[in-house]
């Protein structure tokens, strides 16, 4: 295999953003650099003639680089490219033939040359290049056959400032570069759904901050570590995440004492949303993100979602709202959070989950119950906010 010195990064959607294009490209360059920080070696990420290139300046591990680039939202394809100086057709043809020779051990394949001439003053046009190069390749490797409709090897040859030769396109994650669509606050639990929700929102270019509620001694130090580990997995894609860890025990016990048991989850979630929204507004996040999915549990019926939602003024984004559990699991497996999510550290702290929770709460009903919280809830929420533990999580 060829020891590639450069990767051509292809981006889709962001190519069509008109005058703002450079903002998106710059964000993408920044995110690529960030992802490559995790990889051993020196890399130069740069824009040239409306393309983004990653040049390798040292020894590196090919698979590690590809894996890192696959976590950068906005990348549609990663193309390992052979790049050389333009020394005229003869030289180019020789190098193209070399490329094919080295890249494909089994020559019993069909191919097509796809030339693009960005340098309009070049002596040959792209049709001529296609034809001539095709001929040279056939002469060098007689087992190869031309197939212009469905070739096994599509050989791209670009005549630009340099000459680019590439034939391999590795799919990236798509989406938009993080940092181009504002920030949102993810309510992160230790489950399967919320990391997936965070990933999906982040994929649209949204930067993430997160809030986790723990309730020692009802939840353990390992459960908390698990959430930090999950944030770290999401951060591989989203970039660093500021994680707010809120001690919810006192608030939870108070709600338990004051409110009907079957409404506990709803009322607790309403308070959690309020606290998360507080942190969101404080740091300029423009919405909340949750892993809720319709009817998955009692607090995720449309009635429950509605009653919970009404405590917020910020929009609440629920990217997996219409996903079946298995669909969520599939994404979790893909992004690598599943194994961590299913660790059993949530122990058996079902103390605060009613055996028969309400599934169709109404606004009036919940408001009536919450009147019993009036005496202390503001104070408790204030304390919970003030005693927040902040952890900066990086991949």
């Amino acid at each position: 295999m060829i020891n590639f010195k450069s990767f051509l990064i292809k981006y889709g959607e962001i190519g069509v953003k008109g005058k703002n294009k450079f903002i998106f490209e710059d964000a993408l360059v920044k995110q690529i650099r960030f992802a490559l920080n995790r990889v051993e070696g020196q890399f130069k990420v740069h824009k040239e003639e409306s393309r983004i290139y990653v040049d390798t300046l040292s020894e590196y591990d090919y698979d590690e680089v590809i894996e890192a680039l696959k976590t950068v939202f906005g990348i549609v394809y990663i193309c390992p490219v052979v790049q050389f100086e333009d020394n005229g057709y003869e030289d180019m043809a020789k190098k193209v033939v070399e490329y094919v020779g080295e890249m494909y051990e089994d020559k019993n394949i069909t191919f097509k040359v796809n030339a693009r001439r960005a340098k309009k003053n070049w002596p040959m046009d792209s049709m001529e290049i296609n034809r001539e190069l095709g001929g040279e390749i056939l002469a060098a490797f007689p087992e190869m056959k031309v197939d212009v409709h469905n070739p096994e090897l599509l050989l791209n040859v670009e005549v630009r400032k340099h000459i680019n030769v590439y034939s391999k396109s590795i799919p990236g994650p798509g989406g938009m570069p993080v940092g181009t669509a504002g920030k949102a606050m993810l309510l992160l639990s230790g489950g399967i759904d919320s990391p997936v929700a965070g990933y999906m929102i982040s994929k649209r270019g949204v930067e993430l901050e997160a809030t986790y509620f723990h309730a020692p001694p009802y939840t353990s130090a390992r459960a908390k570590q698990k959430v930090i580990d999950l944030a770290r997995i999401v951060a591989k894609y989203s970039g660093p995440i500021k994680l707010n860890i809120v001690n919810f025990t006192e608030t939870q016990l108070y709600i338990y004492e004051q409110c009907p048991h079957d409404e506990l989850t709803i009322i607790m979630k309403r308070v959690m949303f309020k606290i998360a929204e507080h942190f969101a507004k404080e740091s300029g996040a423009l919405g909340l993100v949750t892993g809720e999915s319709i009817a998955q549990v009692s607090s995720q019926t449309l009635q429950s979602l509605g009653v919970i939602n009404e405590v917020c003024t910020l929009p609440v984004f629920r990217p997996v709202i219409a996903f079946d559990k298995q669909d969520i699991v599939d994404v979790a497996i893909k992004i690598g959070s599943y194994e961590t999510s299913i660790l059993p550290y949530e122990d058996c702290c079902t103390t605060f989950v009613a055996k028969h929770p309400v599934t169709k709460p109404t606004h009036e009903q919940i408001a009536r119950s919450e009147r019993h919280l009036e005496e202390k809830i503001d104070e408790l929420v204030k304390t919970a906010i003030e005693t927040v533990e902040v952890v900066m999580v990086e991949a």
Partner: protein, 385 residues
């Protein structure tokens, strides 16, 4: 103040153990199999450790085989023995409350075609002698029982078990998992006719990754680790000299003034049980005095989930174990021992284990019980409705 009351999980390494280990690593780091002087120096630590242990058990040095710990010793005793003796018979007996390194190894042997009987225990966690006797047959080759149960501290009457088993079939060999009893009880396998005995180093203030299996002369066992033939071919792999040296020192220290150490632990255990009995609505699953192990106290605090108790105490720097995973948690493993002694689901969910060592103090116990008393009412208020 810190109260580490989880000594059946693991113990703090003694300074004297640490010192000898560092010396081995810094100075006498040779491979005991090497012919040169460095090798000879290293080998001496192994000989010393064997000598210490052989003296304690009153067995021959050549009957001690160092392993990586309790699990390996138990694996070697069951698998190695079964492989070497399969022509003599196909039947193995163990109890229903063994450690996972016995139970899961027995299951593995079942997959390999052996028949395994699991003898149940009574409400005190002692195996049913009539059922044991009934199970021994012509085909039986091995009986494996633990000396002290790790969860409740019940003691099996090993001497009686050996007699009953061998009276019915004199060819049967007996293996004892002594991982929780070594260092806590007097153990003399040869005297009572025990053929194999497993011990782990980190339960007696020695290092993790250390342990041994006693194999009485003449008992056939096949090695389960094969290679360069160390430990007389029974356990290949360059010996973990620092760990072995540490284990030897820990064992020697544990059994010097042993009567005093044991009496201290029993006194502390009884004091603990007396105090915890004053808390309303608790069930003590361990026995006072010499009727139970000197160091294990299993208690069910009815109405408080074991994890919640554990994490509450952890906030006060008190460290204990949960007795069992929650019985309602389908994913987690519910304790066979606690089920075996007939605890109800409510009791299962609320069982925790406190475990002492000869270094534990009355102050630690008082601090622990005081903390429980201070918190238990609050903890009981919040239960799932």
């Amino acid at each position: 103040m810190i109260a580490y009351l989880d000594n059946s999980a693991t113990t703090k390494v003694l300074d004297s153990v640490k010192d000898i280990m560092i010396k081995v690593m810094n100075e006498d780091f040779g491979n005991p199999s090497s012919l040169h002087l460095k090798g000879v120096d290293a080998e001496k630590y192994i000989k010393d450790a064997k000598e210490n242990i052989a003296k304690i058990l009153k067995v021959k040095e050549g009957e001690i085989f160092f392993t990586s710990g309790g699990t390996e010793s138990n694996n070697m005793a069951l698998i190695g023995f079964a492989m070497a003796n399969k022509r003599a018979g196909n039947h193995i007996i163990t109890s229903g409350i063994e450690h996972a390194s016995i139970l899961n190894t027995a299951k593995f042997l079942e997959e390999q075609g052996f028949r395994v009987s699991y003898i149940p225990v009574d409400k005190d966690g002692v195996i049913d002698m009539d059922k044991l006797k009934a199970e021994v047959c012509e085909d039986t080759i091995l009986v494996s029982v633990m000396h002290v149960n790790n969860e409740i501290g019940s003691i099996q009457p090993i001497e009686e078990i050996v007699k009953v088993v061998k009276a019915k079939n004199s060819n049967v060999k007996v293996h004892v998992d002594a991982i929780q009893s070594f260092g806590k009880l007097t153990i003399q396998p040869k005297k009572i006719g025990v053929d194999m005995l497993s011990v782990s180093g980190h339960k007696i203030h020695g290092p993790k990754g250390s342990g041994f299996l006693y194999i009485a002369e003449g008992v056939k066992v096949k090695p389960i680790l094969i290679g360069g033939g160390q430990e007389k071919g029974m356990r290949s792999g360059t010996q973990n000299v620092p760990a072995i040296a540490g284990l030897g020192v820990a064992a020697k220290e544990n059994y010097s003034d042993f009567a005093g150490k044991q009496a201290k632990m029993i006194e502390l255990k009884d004091y603990f049980i007396d105090r915890v009995s004053n808390i309303p609505n608790v069930k003590i699953n361990s026995k006072k005095g010499m009727e139970g192990a000197p160091h294990i106290i299993s208690v069910s605090f009815i109405g408080v989930r074991s994890e919640v108790m554990l994490h509450t105490l952890e906030e006060y720097d008190i460290f204990i174990s949960a007795g069992s995973a929650c019985s309602s948690n389908k994913k987690a493993h519910v304790s066979d021992t606690l089920k075996g002694i007939g605890l109800s689901n409510e009791e299962l969910d609320s069982t925790v284990r406190f475990s002492l060592s000869y270094l534990s103090t009355k102050e630690e116990v008082d601090y622990c019980i005081d903390t429980i008393e201070k918190n238990i009412e609050m903890l009981r208020k919040y239960v799932r409705k």
